[in-house]
Symmetry: C2
Subunit: 347 residues, 2 copies
Amino acid sequence: MREVADLAGVAMSSVSRVLSGHPDVSPAMRQRVMAAVDSLGYQPDLLAQSLRRRETLSVGFVVGDISNPLQSQIALGAETALRSRNYSMLLTNSENEPALDTSHIRLFQQRRVDGLLLSLAAEDDPQTLALLGAVETPIVLIDRELRGDVGRRASAVLSDHRSGMRDAVGHLLDLGHRRIGMILGQPMRFSRERLEGLKDAYEARGLAPTYAVVEGQLEPRHGRAATQTLLDAAEPATALVAGGNQLLNGALAEIQQRGLRVGGDLSLVSCDEISLTQLYQPPIAVVRRDTRALGRRAAELLLSQLESQEEGDDGRMRSTRAPETVLLPTEFVARPSCAPPAAPAAA
Amino acid sequence: MREVADLAGVAMSSVSRVLSGHPDVSPAMRQRVMAAVDSLGYQPDLLAQSLRRRETLSVGFVVGDISNPLQSQIALGAETALRSRNYSMLLTNSENEPALDTSHIRLFQQRRVDGLLLSLAAEDDPQTLALLGAVETPIVLIDRELRGDVGRRASAVLSDHRSGMRDAVGHLLDLGHRRIGMILGQPMRFSRERLEGLKDAYEARGLAPTYAVVEGQLEPRHGRAATQTLLDAAEPATALVAGGNQLLNGALAEIQQRGLRVGGDLSLVSCDEISLTQLYQPPIAVVRRDTRALGRRAAELLLSQLESQEEGDDGRMRSTRAPETVLLPTEFVARPSCAPPAAPAAA
């Protein structure tokens, strides 16, 4: 490090500031130091540094399934924001198993990550909650809501699912649908809010609650089984709302199997934009949100916690900033997958 | 750690083996030690351990864009395999910029990752190659081919794009198509192999090379522009092959804009299965591969390198195992998006 400072003709403290990613460094200084670093082949040892500084510049991200487009876009947004401030992101997949959430959080603690981004598999798993109660690093929940002390201690980025769903169901009701079938995933905030939006739309129009709701897992298999249930009911649904892209996949498979025309025989709304919703013929109406922004805002909340930390009397770092909750909007996009209900087939 | 050993009634070395994830530990021993760990609330400090052991049990994964379904499935496969052997995965997105590849590899070195999984943005970037030449940890390339010493030193998991594409183009030729338009991404191995497969199919049938190829970036914009080029040519293509799911998105947007019927006015083949190819009406033929296995095999190659390392006379760890290259199959799945060419419209 001294050689780097000598070659660059700057003070050791300047080299240290550049290498630690300090924000108050001019581009010229950064360039000068990095040129010396490159020509000497110097590699600062982040690991030894982090033992001294008691920080690792790493963040653990627990995600349900990174191959789900919703979650991979959130991860992209988070990673990009973290990287811009020199944090690295460790990623694990819980495979939507609460027990794996717990073991990954424990692993991240052992690796001394500076903070956690959590898209948990469940909001009420007792072991996860007990473990999080003992976590001292900042936590940001992504589209999850935890009760009690743990919930109050954590920051959160939430989506306003309710208002987008209210508009979606309102659109279907205004087209004349009354028997709307909603397919939901696990009983977490996103499911509860979508259900509230559905109810809001019926109530705002003074209509009797003639909807049907099928809850299950956010998986294509449930999407398909729920579609069967809703279409085989004594009063079959004339419009379906799939609460997630995995549910949509299953619903579409069943609709195609039955030879039903989307936007003709059956109206369809999904949640979250994917290439399928945009390019399907007819295009599929969605309750849309900026998923990349969801990840970016989560990372920003975590960074603001980390950057306001001060060392307490006991030598532990604690944030001086209260946890924050940010609510990001959703938006309903009407498309030709929604049309007036088909006239009932002659008996 | 002594307390854990005492409570579990086992030797310190047994505790150490359990906590380090040593493979030769009985399930009963693991359970006994972990029960003591849990009841004492003991947290091994992986960071301090890794300084002693000179390993971090972490692997760096450089990916182009985790929100691309191809890459997120590879990442899922890799992370799951790494986790099963107690390795954590650090993830960065290069945004398909070779300069970011370089800076992320450098960052991973500073964090002393034990190995690298690389899905590079380019195969011939001089700075990336120079940097990789100096990397001493094991490297596994994912669907990339590097020349020279760096290429010889690295392990690789490759897809056999050529044979799947040969079958796909053969199917189109056998349906009567002669003017086949191929849309390719960057000039990397996956593009070269797809082009070779195209040529193979024409040559195997003794046909003149009446195909057209448009190269560019693996982005929807290029998919769309290339589709325009191929359809507006003096001899318009009667069948399109999109070399990736991002290209497919752009191609479909243009096809729909022109009001062309897939499988009627125009035949279409894509590469890699996504929900869109399966659920589009008509379903879209694909050259398919097991993307999750691609990530899993890459992680396994890296783990076999890491687990065969021995300390050299200079104190550095080196693998005693030669780098390996694994070729995984692709498979063409014919679907109704491919049909005989439409009769030319009357002039």
